[in-house]
């Protein structure tokens, strides 16, 4: 049995096969399951491609061409980005700008933070603060506070005198 050529099956699915030849092909398909399966797969591709419609609503090519004929300059059309793609582009641009700014700042920033003033020996209060004597004076388990009191009271100082 001579099977149908694939190009004829494609043209049958697109409706371009001449009527006389188409009748012969259809008659063959009724008796040949293999060719019928091949035709169904061709038709499946043809149907799938039908989904791909192009949207030309609101497009005015003549205006662009007329402008180009008058000015001699190519009309640059606006980018056909979807709103989602615009958001991603904006986010990417912001991230790049932040990264560049951070890098530029690190290269040019100098440490100019003020250093803390060095305390000079002045009043007793200042000395106590610098030496953190408040810590020593706190009642601690080691008895440092008690030892300190002992050392600093007048009676004890008198006993220690030779």
């Amino acid at each position: 049995m001579k099977h149908v050529r694939e190009i004829d099956l494609i043209e049958l699915s697109t409706g371009e096969l001449p009527e006389a030849h188409g009748a012969d092909v259809r008659a063959h398909l009724r008796t040949c399951p293999k060719c019928r399966r091949r035709y169904e797969s061709c038709n499946g591709v043809h149907e799938a491609l039908s989904d791909w419609a192009s949207d030309t609503a609101g497009w005015n090519l003549w205006a662009d061409i007329r402008e180009r004929m008058v000015t001699g300059r190519r009309v640059v059309v606006a980018s056909h980005w979807t709103s989602r793609q615009r958001v991603w582009r904006a986010a990417a641009a912001a991230a790049i700008a932040v990264g560049l700014g951070h890098g530029a700042g690190r290269l040019t920033w100098r440490h100019t933070a003020p250093t803390p003033p060095i305390p000079t020996m002045g009043s007793e209060q200042q000395v106590r603060e610098v030496l953190s004597l408040g810590v020593i004076e706190s009642p601690s388990p080691t008895g440092l506070f008690a030892a300190y009191v002992h050392m600093t009271t007048d009676e004890n100082r008198a006993e220690d005198q030779p």
Binding site: E11, E16, L49, D51, W62, R68, S79, T82
Partner: protein
Amino acid sequence: MRQLASGQRDALALLVQRHQDKVRGLACRFLGRWDGAEDVCQDAFLRVYETAAQYQPNGQFTTWLYRVVANLCWDRRKRARREAQALPNGSWAGWATNDEMPVERRERLERICRAVAALPERQRLVLVLSRYGNLTRAEIVAVTGWSLPAVESCLVRAYRRLRELLSDEEDGCGGRD
């Protein structure tokens, strides 16, 4: 075309209005870029205007117009290849889909766009002229200048390849589920 040859711009406006959708659809589907297709459309009609005096009415005007469009698309692709500019895959579906589309339809369209983008250029051109330009095999021969067996071979291979690609995509989707 006779009016156009005598310099009447209104005749060009009429031709543009009548054929712009088809021309744009062909260019978009072959190039996969909306902005590139717009350039091709402008160039094609300007070339029609410039060469109107040389037009010989021994065939359909659309065949002649599509030949101009096909040559411009082909040149653009050759230039892009020379400059090592690959068509970004993302742009193929970008012009054919929009955010208002249902997700299923958008995914189906993207599958189709990816499958067509994966075809070799000769097969893609013949497929686009046949399926979306509604040209017969003989007309495609007139547009491309290729032989009839070459055109038929391109069309058959394109359909086979699309069948494989679309069924692979569907299997892949089913596997993920």
